[in-house]
């Protein structure tokens, strides 16, 4: 029983991390890259605006950072909750 509730806490922490990561994922691509682009048009980046940069470069860089952050954080969570592989 004790093991199960421990696993449940691990899963809850994982879900929280996934939700935060996916909010950032959506914000940089659908947000900054598409829907919020008109709002960011005042910020100039090399001959165009920030929204264009996010659509063609920034979102990809943030995706990369997100995956590595998630992997690093999860591997730590595994150890904290004692669920890592041997």
């Amino acid at each position: 029983m004790k093991k199960e509730s421990k696993d449940a806490a691990y899963w809850k922490a994982n879900i929280r991390l996934i939700i935060i990561s996916l909010i950032i994922w959506a914000l940089v691509s659908f947000g900054f890259g598409i829907l919020l682009r008109p709002m960011l048009s005042g910020i100039a980046v090399g001959g165009t605006d920030l929204g264009f940069w996010f659509a063609q470069q920034g979102s990809i860089l943030v995706f990369l950072a997100l995956i590595f952050f998630y992997a690093w954080r999860m591997n730590k969570l595994d150890a904290e909750h004692g669920v890592e592989e041997q």
Binding site: D7, S29, G46, T48, F52, L64, A71
Partner: protein, 598 residues
């Protein structure tokens, strides 16, 4: 040395390398055949997955699509990379923990239903086969252009090479071959881009050069590009012109479709540990990003170069003369590509010059009337030649012919690596899910390995035949492949992991609803079974508001989720042991044992 010999050396050397690797990494067991013995390092696996994923579409087509449309086609960049976030967070670690060989096996076990497994197998085979046809056609075209052999011979050579290393090497051979193919394709893509970026902006990194200064004019590159394309009546490159909702849904469909493509998901079965599956997705995206961050620069710079070549004295002066195209070496590529039928020009008004402009634009029609132009004279510019012709278009220094050979080898590497990955997905679906899973469960390991090889040989034969006789709808079927993967496989996998409540009836109902609605929507716009003129709507004026058929995968996925949820909540919850299985795949502890008891 002439161009032909150089192309031959580059392509021949790369092929010899692939076959050499396959002999070295020959698969001996089903585990090695399907999953490379699970002994592949995350970085190696990431590189192989990147080559697996980046097909002829990424290498050859994408920069061209961006070049001629601009910002609106950023969907390809965000969609085809953003899917990896979904894969890394929502699927890869859990599927690795589950520890079986195929995607359909997971769906069958999780939803304790042979029907669910078979529905998944059918989706997988249809999606993969349509994709393979595109790759084989690409192989034929690349051979035709660079080795001056006819399409059929080119395709047969390509099929033979894939056969040699995929059939004997299995996943192990394919994995190591794909590592070599990644190196070839990324060099072929980035080296010309670096020199073009240096030439135009002085910055050796194309992704930075794109936002840098155009040295010849002293203005920012993108501003200069916007200026010259609008002077010719085309839409501003950096601006948003299409429908916003459609762009969002198209991007989302590409993301979900990427995360649902079986040959990519399969790669995460091959890493040793659950933690490695997480890292592996990150490494895959690192290697993909090297190309994807470069692609928008390749597109914008090529568009600028082409426009300036057509208007050497500026867009307000006289256009390039026919005589210059025929005699100036900077225009040699135009004659070469004209022979392939992918590039064409015609001096309609017989003024000895080729005017390239948007003849549908009102302002340009006025200028045309004044100057006596009779329409756009660069009559045909196939988007697919942009990357292949890029070093020549930019008129790079004399050793450019070496780069052309490298680009040829790179394009072939991209097409062959993806074809091999897809063929592997098809053969494991046939031998593992269809034969061992349904028809003959008592088949020996040796028998299964043999049937996997036979299935792959048959798949290559079918793909070659269809590559030689393309069904005429090859381009549309890519939308179908993504739509299917997005509307069926991804939601089923995700619900299988994140919900203990979704049961067999719900999952099957969801998959069937998602696929059928998506299929009907595509057929309504592209014609029933892609037969021309049987469509009721067009993508210019779609059935549901602005939603084009290529963007419908995301809607199909939502239908799948909803139907599965509603049906499951009305029917019995899954048995105890299935709920326990779901709980167990959520924690990494004890991974590795799962595969052994199979």
């Amino acid at each position: 040395m002439d161009q032909f010999t150089i192309n031959l050396i580059f392509v021949g050397a790369s092929f010899a390398l692939y076959i050499g690797i396959a002999i070295w990494a020959r698969a001996g067991s089903t585990s090695e055949f399907y999953a490379a013995g699970r002994g592949v390092h995350p970085v190696t696996n990431g590189m192989a997955t990147a080559a697996d994923w980046m097909s002829a579409a990424s290498f050859i087509s994408m920069a061209g699509l961006i070049a001629f449309t601009g910002y609106d086609n950023s969907s390809f960049l965000m969609g085809w990379t953003g899917g990896y976030v979904l894969l890394a967070l929502l699927l890869a670690p859990y599927l690795r923990k589950f520890g079986k060989f195929t995607v359909s096996e997971f769906i069958g076990d999780r939803f304790y239903s042979q029907t669910a497994r078979m529905v998944a197998v059918i989706c997988l085979i249809v999606a993969s086969t349509t994709y393979v046809i595109g790759q084989m056609t690409g192989v034929g075209v690349a051979f035709g252009r660079f080795l001056e052999v006819d399409n059929t011979t080119g395709l047969l050579i390509g099929a033979f090479v894939v056969f040699a290393y995929a059939v004997f090497g299995g996943m192990k051979g394919v994995t190591y071959t794909q590592v070599a193919q990644y190196c070839v394709l990324i060099m072929a893509y980035t080296i010309p881009a670096i020199f073009i970026s240096l030439q135009l902006t002085g910055n050796p990194i194309p992704a930075l050069g794109l936002f840098g200064e155009h040295q010849a004019s002293g203005e920012p590159l993108l501003q200069k590009l916007d200026q010259i394309v609008t002077e010719l009546g085309f839409k501003e490159y950096t601006m948003h012109h299409g429908d916003t909702l459609n762009m969002v849904l198209f991007t989302l469909s590409l993301m979900i479709g990427t995360a649902g493509l079986p040959h990519v998901i399969m790669r995460f079965f091959t890493v040793p540990r659950v933690a490695d599956a997480r890292w592996s997705a990150g490494w895959t995206l690192v290697f993909i990003a090297l190309l994807y961050l470069t692609a928008p620069a390749v597109g914008a710079m090529a568009r600028l170069n082409i426009t300036e070549l057509m208007w050497p004295n500026g867009t307000n002066e006289q256009a390039v003369s026919v005589e210059q195209i025929e005699s100036d070496p900077a225009y040699d590529w135009m004659a070469t590509w004209q022979q392939t039928g992918l590039l064409g020009w015609e001096d309609k008004n017989n003024d000895g010059r080729i005017q390239y402009y948007n003849d549908a634009d009102a302002d340009m029609q006025e200028r045309a009337a004044q100057e006596g132009w009779e329409g756009n004279e660069l009559t045909n510019f196939n988007r697919d030649i942009l990357v292949l012709a890029n070093p020549e278009i930019a008129n790079l220094p004399s050793w450019v012919i070496g780069l052309v050979g490298l680009v040829a080898a790179g394009g072939l590497a991209a097409a062959l690596s993806t074809a091999a990955g897809l063929l592997l997905a098809i053969s494991s679906a046939v031998s593992h899910d269809l034969i061992k899973g349904a028809l003959n469960p008592r088949i020996s390991e040796k028998g299964e390995l043999l049937s996997a090889r036979v299935a792959m040989a048959v798949a290559i034969a079918v793909a070659t035949y269809l590559g030689l006789n393309p069904p005429g709808f090859a381009a549309q079927t890519v939308a179908l492949a993504f739509g299917l993967a997005a509307a069926s496989i991804f939601p089923a996998l995700m619900m299988g992991i994140f919900s203990t409540r979704i049961n067999n009836t719900g999952a099957v109902a969801g998959m069937i609803a998602g696929i059928s609605v998506t299929l009907v929507y595509i057929f309504l716009h592209k014609g029933w079974f892609f037969i021309p003129d049987t469509n009721t709507f067009t993508d210019a004026d779609p059935l549901l508001g602005p939603i084009q058929s290529t963007s419908f995968g995301a809607v199909g996925a939502m239908i799948n989720f909803t139907v599965a949820y509603v049906v499951s909540s009305m029917t019995k919850e899954p048995p105890e042991e299935i709920q326990e299985m779901v709980e167990s795949i959520r924690v990494p502890r004890g991974a590795g044992a799962a595969a052994a008891d199979h």
